[in-house]
């Protein structure tokens, strides 16, 4: 994964096979994790509400207008742990 600035990242799940805490077509918040990125994984706040590592191939990164980020963050809360 490339390095991103302080802007928030979002991704849509395109492959939930075998994952009970992902839903295809749903938007997820992505948190920075360089170690995960170097292995082709993303740190995603999944349906459990916590952040875990999933292969980046299960997602498409979504570009969001800066003005829209606060609206998405309001409905995509940070992981509790």
């Amino acid at each position: 994964m490339t390095t991103h600035d302080s802007r928030s990242l979002f991704a849509v799940c395109i492959d939930q096979a075998g994952c009970d805490d992902l839903s295809a077509g749903m938007l997820y918040r992505v948190l920075p994790d360089e170690a995960a990125g170097s292995e082709g994984f993303l740190r995603v706040i999944d349906d459990s509400g916590e952040d875990y590592l999933y292969p980046a191939s299960r997602f498409v990164i979504v570009q969001v207008q800066p003005s829209d980020e606060p609206k998405l963050l309001a409905v995509a809360p940070a992981s509790p742990g």
Binding site: G18, D20, E39, Y52
Partner: protein, 77 residues
């Protein structure tokens, strides 16, 4: 699953016994069982790339059901 656990887990700890209503309902509906707990441990995993990494893993367990929803929390090495 997106990885293969190689060998046994170590440093196993229970991190939650009082799961949220949502978690309990989901686990019972999917797998049955009672008294679900959330645990964490450390294990060696093989990734789809073929690389092996030491990782902190989280999962749920209930008596007689075994490990479910084994997920990678972070790479440790």
């Amino acid at each position: 699953m997106d990885f293969e656990l190689i060998g046994e887990l170590s440093e196993i700890e229970t991190i939650a016994v009082n799961l949220s209503i949502r978690e309990k309902t989901d686990l019972k509906a999917r797998y049955g069982g009672r008294r679900w707990r959330k645990l964490k441990g450390v294990g060696l995993i093989r990734l789809p790339s073929g690389n092996t990494r030491r990782a902190e893993l989280h999962w749920y367990e209930a008596h007689g059901i075994g490990r479910r929803k084994l997920k990678i929390k972070r790479f440790l090495d």
